[in-house]
Subunit: 377 residues, 3 copies
Amino acid sequence: MHFLLKEIRHNPILWLLGFVPVVFATAALVPQAHRLLFVLAVLSTVPLAALLSHATESVAAKTGDAAGGLLNATLGNLTELIIALTALRAGEYMLVKASIAGAIVANTLFMLGASFLLGGLKYHVQEYNRGSARLQAGLLFVAAVALLIPSLLSDSDVAAGAQVTQTLSVCLAVVLMLVYGLGLVFSLQTHRELFAGAEHAAAPAAWPLRVALATLAGVTVLVALVSEIFVESVQAAAEGFGMTPAFVGFVIVALVGGAAEMASAFSGARKNRLDLSVGIALGSASQIALFVAPVLVLLSYVIGPTAMDLQLWPGAVVMILVATLTASLVTNSGRSAWFVGVLVLTVYMLLAITLYLLPPRVQGPGEDFERPLVRNS
Amino acid sequence: MHFLLKEIRHNPILWLLGFVPVVFATAALVPQAHRLLFVLAVLSTVPLAALLSHATESVAAKTGDAAGGLLNATLGNLTELIIALTALRAGEYMLVKASIAGAIVANTLFMLGASFLLGGLKYHVQEYNRGSARLQAGLLFVAAVALLIPSLLSDSDVAAGAQVTQTLSVCLAVVLMLVYGLGLVFSLQTHRELFAGAEHAAAPAAWPLRVALATLAGVTVLVALVSEIFVESVQAAAEGFGMTPAFVGFVIVALVGGAAEMASAFSGARKNRLDLSVGIALGSASQIALFVAPVLVLLSYVIGPTAMDLQLWPGAVVMILVATLTASLVTNSGRSAWFVGVLVLTVYMLLAITLYLLPPRVQGPGEDFERPLVRNS
Amino acid sequence: MHFLLKEIRHNPILWLLGFVPVVFATAALVPQAHRLLFVLAVLSTVPLAALLSHATESVAAKTGDAAGGLLNATLGNLTELIIALTALRAGEYMLVKASIAGAIVANTLFMLGASFLLGGLKYHVQEYNRGSARLQAGLLFVAAVALLIPSLLSDSDVAAGAQVTQTLSVCLAVVLMLVYGLGLVFSLQTHRELFAGAEHAAAPAAWPLRVALATLAGVTVLVALVSEIFVESVQAAAEGFGMTPAFVGFVIVALVGGAAEMASAFSGARKNRLDLSVGIALGSASQIALFVAPVLVLLSYVIGPTAMDLQLWPGAVVMILVATLTASLVTNSGRSAWFVGVLVLTVYMLLAITLYLLPPRVQGPGEDFERPLVRNS
């Protein structure tokens, strides 16, 4: 507890922990106050995500390079995973898919662009390790292809079509997880010298292992409970605020779930350690695309009301393609200045504005997501 | 006048100025000779564009680096702007949009490719400043995303859809102009050392400020008057020649409006100053995409019969994407040889041939342009 | 014959030549055993393709650099050409198009990826000549644009549309062949010093000219005869195996036709001569796209029942675009390690799995291929 309190004193984000009891009390007393619950749940998730992130890093720091890297690679997006699992259990597949797509896009464009901008406002020109950025961009590209192809080829107008889409989604999920695993072998084992310096260099004052593990367990439970309130309130609250679930999942959930990582990435950029920022932003995006999303597809067989496929709505596929292409083009030179950040952030803003003004129409639960980018019949 | 006459003697393009009185006389005497008027208007626009371009550069040379850069950046495509404004006032939105899209594609592919080819026929391998090319390609990419997204997500089948598309177009226009402005701050102020040498190095024998300003004012009026004849005759003339307005706007107007800049770019390439050629070609394309097009959208509220949106027909969006991608791939190495020019010109030819043989079908004024790339309903 | 026998002793692939008489005997005795004939035809084509490839290289080695390069550039994909010609004469346009698209994708992704992987398993990091890879990627990009644009803009719902598509296909075919020819002038004549080392370095123990020419002639006839059996049996056999003709053409024919080149490319990679592997993979892909495909379109006027156009089904265009983009991104650095091979192979597997599970629906002969990517009506 001493470490936690010390951490809270030093990290203003953690002051938001005060909202955690408030959200539980409110949920018990006025369960119909959807908009209030939504705001409180968002405010509580941010500090919990920061704690989770710090606890994961502390455990990773104690367990040595390879195991630590593996741990970070599986628990690094625990907040997003818990929120998505809660939505999955509730059968809110649109929210799950929107939050996956949104997290990929937000990490690739918003986190990367803001890091470039914040770093560039302090340093004239910044350099970073291109090799690591290229690996992550390559993984993202493979994931984008995996998401693009079923949207393009699927044959949705017959019942048999849904079955085929489902089989395809499971195959793609397994392939993506295999590639993700091989990518870890590559970057943590066989060619780790190429990625030196880009990993972990930030972990500020690691906690003792016991504290870290206890925090990991306790906060995971808290995030799961808050997520339940969040998922229950989001639909009604979004309508109240005039937003669609797609916009909420794509923008709000993605930014909330990634708040802790963003804080680390931005702080790295301000310390002229852009390797770290680029690694967190693109690494987190590729982890969600190649690990979190496949896990959710496979888990939907166990905990969801029906199986979930990997098909996104056409606009989301295009956004992920645009984000991947932007990351590839921008990280090609290994140098950055403030205007590079402006360009990347602008691409994100263009997508967010469009999604806010022109949300995809949804007739029934998930119905709109079954439509392929190009009909094939 | 002395300077003008001297200039005319040295620059064979200016001999075409003789057509300017002819076009006015013809318009007054035989206003129904659409095909003749079209050809005369085209022939008159080329030398006037060259004069405008020279006058702008002369004023820019007198006013110092930053202000001169700013002037060039706003008046550099004055000819295209005037023609588009005339078409806008006449409510010819299809011509406006086709000429914007066509100018972006022609500058990115035709001007760049022909510069590479002409330079490469004289020099074995040419090198140029990649930094500047990357900035312009980045700006073009952002503009391409801004044009792609509304085409993809829009929801056109209800009246409300048009309203939303309009709001979106205004938002995107404002964002693009902001990015363009920040790009000027970046390249003219904070990081200008990265772009040294790529700018202005060409201005041949600048005119005195008084002469330049008077030329700027007088020729602008002449171009506006010729444009009026051009816009009135183009529709009937295109039919007479068996071309659609889309082809005329996309290919003919784009090449005519950019004739003066092309002359400068090609002459730079022949003098082994490829920095200059690449800067003119990509700079001009990004200026049209991020400054001229947004200005036209905003001005359509003031001078057009109805508001104009940013939605292009699907083929045009794909062409702009292809052009942007080509520019990114080709300028990546900072080196060129004649065959690089052949490749880039071939991409332009493929697009032009396709557009000539398979023009987009247009049922009514602007109707075809409202259709999104992928229906979202 | 002595040379042939010696070759057969040293090259285990050639033992498969034993299947050649078997396939002819089976075709004569049990012409209805489609599945057996299909398997035998595949097994016979592999060694014949290897012989053709060796004979071409031997002739090329004797005739000097420029003429040899030209010969390789025209006969290098003779197996694919013969199979496609047989299918063309039989009016199996879907098979022709699928095998063209499949060969481009298989060479760009499977051959390149497997070379990177096999080389990377033996050497930690491998380097190769980027210039050559860039030229081939540029040619592929131009071909991809040529295939994309008609699919996108075409107007298929009227009879006139088919006529226009046909004219467009002939124009595009001529342009592509011109660019291919200019590319040969560039790489074999004006700038050959940039491509030194990437070409031909492999030819193992060239045959005397007489033997090579006789082999070339004799084996061509055999391949043509086997192709006839193959094309006749493929449709029924594919149904028997539960595969569509599109899958067979795209995956099976492409891998069979390219078996000989793959053997050379993989052996180059294992000898740390990645220049050779990349040159074979991308050179072969661009040759099929810019030479074999146009030749087939033009020859369809002479030998086909009706003219064939260049329009592919939407999924094939996307696959070619994905393959081209992958090649551009991956060869950008000029370095490789085993995981790069995994990434490229994964993209191929994603496409193959999708095509296997979700084959394009075909109502009638070629009907499905006439549909454009985006309707324009």
